[in-house]
Amino acid sequence: MDELIFKDELNRPELTVVSLNNKHKISLLRAFEVDLKTQKKYMRNVVFMIENEFITDNMADSVLLKEELILFEKGDEQNTFFQLKSRKIRESHILSLALKLDSGKTIYISKSQARAIVSLWNMAMMGYSFARILEFETQQTLQSWTQALYDNYLLELENK
């Protein structure tokens, strides 16, 4: 039934936040389109956020980020988001994925954290069809993103 609904520009997305990791403040932001006639939700965009900063902005990039987390050790320098780094803490070598934010801070993700994030991603996607997100993914601008964040009360100080 998804294919029968045509693309509607005026229908603004409804944003919801799923927190994936509390230590690093990693969260998943999903944009929904609500059809009031049939009372159904359709997913239109999925975005990774770390500490109030967008890491990805479309479906293709966020799937790529999730796959890099699954591969973990097997990934190499061709990774676009994470880089594999070995660190020495208390005289023992550990492997972790590193990501540098625009604020200058670097985040190190362990193996268990990566597994937890991927399992939470799977839970968040459960029950929604992907037909609409792949066909009619929203191409948003800076202005439309700010308007959507403002309409869904995500610019309030409490959500920090």
Binding site: M49, E53, F54, L142, T146
Partner: protein, 276 residues
């Protein structure tokens, strides 16, 4: 039979005379239509007021000169209700209102979180947060300051304090940097006070407010309190939203305009700089 004819003729004669000679009595001529129509206009009207014996004409600015309802309300509340139409205060006050209305700017809200947005396709990025309108904050403080001081001071002092409250946060407008080199200097308010005879007193009051002296610190407190009731707008600090700041008005001298165009917006910058 003849009697009846006579009676009919007499009646016809009476009717003809009534419609010819007494016509002006049926439809009397209007004497003072103008007066009556003017008197119907309520007292809050901007153009004309009429006294009991003679006409008195007050020249206010038309309500259509202001675009925003908030400016119209402030003008009606302060100038129309007090009949402060003496020059040059009247024109100075309205010109500042007009300037604030045209060159509005925003400052960051105190109850907001910033989110950094990126778009991969066009390689754009911006910070999204909530903002206050500077014009709205200033108008709210002027309204509240007037309400508090109208019984304490005489009219001339009230006028000076109101002009000072309009101008003491003028450096928050980023477009003022095109008009004046150093925004943080207090003397940049002097541009608006060319025709005002007590301009030095206004500058003195602005200085007192900025130094937070005991007498005038209440203006700063009112400005801070007005943020609680002001409306918040979404804003992103991208290049496109900063374009809106450049509403070049008549206040900017021609030499400055050439500089602005040559520095940022013209393709052939060498040609423009010759004029300067």
């Amino acid at each position: 039979m003849i009697e009846i004819y006579f009676i009919l003729l007499f009646l016809a004669f009476v009717v003809v005379i009534k419609f010819t000679f007494f016509r002006h009595k049926i439809v009397p001529e209007p004497e003072n239509i103008e007066k009556k129509e003017i008197l119907r206009i309520p007292k809050s009207e901007y153009f004309i007021k009429v006294g009991s014996c003679c006409k008195i004409k007050y020249n206010y600015y038309l309500p259509s000169t202001f675009n925003h309802a908030q400016t119209r309300a402030l003008y009606a509340n302060i100038i129309v209700s007090n009949i402060w139409i003496e020059e040059p205060f009247h024109t100075v006050f309205t010109s500042i209102l007009k300037f604030l209305e045209e060159n509005d700017d925003c400052i960051k809200s105190e109850s907001t979180s910033t989110i950094k947005i990126k778009i991969a396709k066009t390689n754009e990025s911006a910070n999204a947060y909530k903002v206050y309108s500077v014009k709205e904050l200033i108008f709210m403080t002027v309204d509240e300051v007037y309400r508090q001081i109208k019984t304490e001071y005489n009219t001339k002092d009230i006028q000076i304090i109101l002009l000072a409250t309009l101008l003491f946060k003028i450096n928050l407008l980023r477009s003022m940097s095109f008009v004046y080199d150093d925004i943080n200097d207090i003397n940049c308010a002097d541009i608006f006070l060319d025709k005002f005879e007590n301009s030095k007193k206004v500058l003195y009051v602005i200085k007192q407010i900025m130094q937070e002296t005991e007498q005038f610190n209440f203006v700063n407190i009112i400005f801070q309190n007005s943020k609680k009731f002001a409306t918040e707008f979404p804003y992103e600090d991208s290049h496109e939203s900063q374009k809106n700041l450049l509403t070049l008005s008549k206040y900017i001298p021609n030499i400055k305009k050439n500089l602005i165009y040559s520095d940022e917006f013209s393709v052939s910058s060498n040609v423009q700089k010759v004029f300067f």
